[in-house]
Amino acid sequence: MKFNDLTIGNRISGSFLIILILLLAVSATGIFGFKQIVKNASQVIQGNKLDSILAQKEVDHLIWVNKVNALLTDEKVTTLNVQTDDHKCGFGEWLYGGGRKEAEILVPALKKSLLAIEKPHYLLHESAKAIGAAYQNEKIKGIETARKIYSDNTLPALTEIQALLKDIRKTARDHIMSDEAMLSSAQRSKNTVVYLSMFAVLAGIMLSFLTVHGLNNLLKKVAEGIAESAGQVASAAREIAASSQSLAENASEQAATVEETSSAVHEITANSRQTSEMTRGARELMNKNIESSGQSLKAIVEITSKINQIVADSDKIAEIIKTIDQIGFQTNLLALNAAVEAARAGEAGAGFAVVADEVRALAIKATTASHSTQILLDETILRISQISASVGDMNLNFEGIVESATIIGEKTEGITSASLEISKGLEQIAAATTEIDKITQQIAGNSEESAAASEELSAQAEEMGFMVAELTRMVHGKKYSQNKMDQIERI
């Protein structure tokens, strides 16, 4: 990943982290160096102290031996005034006390030499005891004996102790850091800290430069981008405000129109519902009409059948009338014959002549009646024929009426269905119109809110421009910022 690809937070955090690590490294190196110097110094001090103690112990033993020697060589010295207990002399207290333990901790290699020195040290002090005893017991020979002990025991023990002490001091010096070594080590520590500090400072400067330079470039680009965006937002906000205002006005006008439309649709819906109710009544009427038509047709069929029967019967009546007429004619002829015969019979046939006249009169009446009946029958037949024709016409007309009525019924049924569909559709349109009315009013309200929001957005865009100028001032300085402000004001 490149440095330029990192986020601002990562860049700053990374730079601070690296500087912090370097600072920690410098501090750790310094602390470690100081600790090492202190440790070395402590070791040198302890070493020097041990060396001085051992040198002092060597001197003490020389003094101790001189005192022993004074007893043997100086007549004025008559008593052996030295410590004869090897645990209670200065070196003995050190050798069998805490001093030896500290020395062994400081230089573990001293253990062997310190153990080796115990015996000659013991023999040295034992020789003093022997010298003292010899000196006290036999004055003249005792001195000789004491001198012999001094030369045979004391001096060799002293020589061995001195050699061991030299060896111990040499071992101590070999294992304990010298002043020069300590100084050299301190110098190295100082140099390490100095070089590391210089590196840390240089690295910090370089990282700071890279971070600041990168941030400056980034902030510059961001500021320019925000300034451009702020200008575009301000421009767009003004356009939106204008559009929203226009939309609000149009929506208000549309709301009024929709309200009028809604009112009209509701009125049409009510009319349509009424029409549907009316056509629904028409269906019931049509059913009754069909029912009545069926019964009427049945009656017409019966009437037609009966008229045909009457017509058929009228021919029979005419036959009967004709028969009656023939009977009357023949009766009349018979009456005439009877009258002729009665006239021939003379006086005897006078009564018969009267009867014959009566019969003839009846025959004439019957013939007349039959003629009248025939005329009446002819008139009746004529009328029935006319009725039949009328019934036929009525049949045809009724047939037309039934056909037309039922077709109208069919169409009315269709109209009823269509009317119901229209009514449902209109109710849906009315509901939709009401909804549109609400939405339009809502749009009008929203548009006004949108216009207000756009104006607020425009103000915020202007505010953002000032913030960009402030940001630019922070990045580039006051002069550049002034130019940027002028650009924003022009936008």
Partner: protein
């Protein structure tokens, strides 16, 4: 709508398929008018596969009845399904001609 006609001496039968709406009623009337009804004494309409009948169809049935009855014949509607049967009974046409339920 489809109409099939068959005649057996004095008995004739129309078998109707589909809905007898205004157009179907006119088709039925045209078929009926074209018949020579002089020899027909029994006119049967089979409604087994009739799905709907409107006012125009019922009107035509009444006219067919009249033509048949005036000629001394009888008319019968057979295999009438539930809803159509109920309608014809509501209109009391069973008192005009014979109606047989499916």
């Amino acid at each position: 709508m489809e109409v099939f006609f068959e005649q057996n001496q004095a008995s004739a039968k129309f078998t109707i398929h589909g809905a007898i709406d205004e157009q179907g009623a006119q088709i039925l009337k045209d078929k009926f008018t074209a018949l020579d009804k002089s020899s027909i004494k029994t006119m049967i309409f089979d409604f087994k596969t009739v799905t709907h009948i409107g006012s125009a169809g019922i009107g035509k049935l009444l006219l067919f009845y009249k033509d048949i009855a005036i000629g001394g014949g009888v008319m019968e509607i057979i295999n009438v399904s539930g809803s159509i049967y109920d309608l014809l009974l509501t209109l009391k046409l069973n008192s005009v001609f014979k109606i047989q339920q499916a």
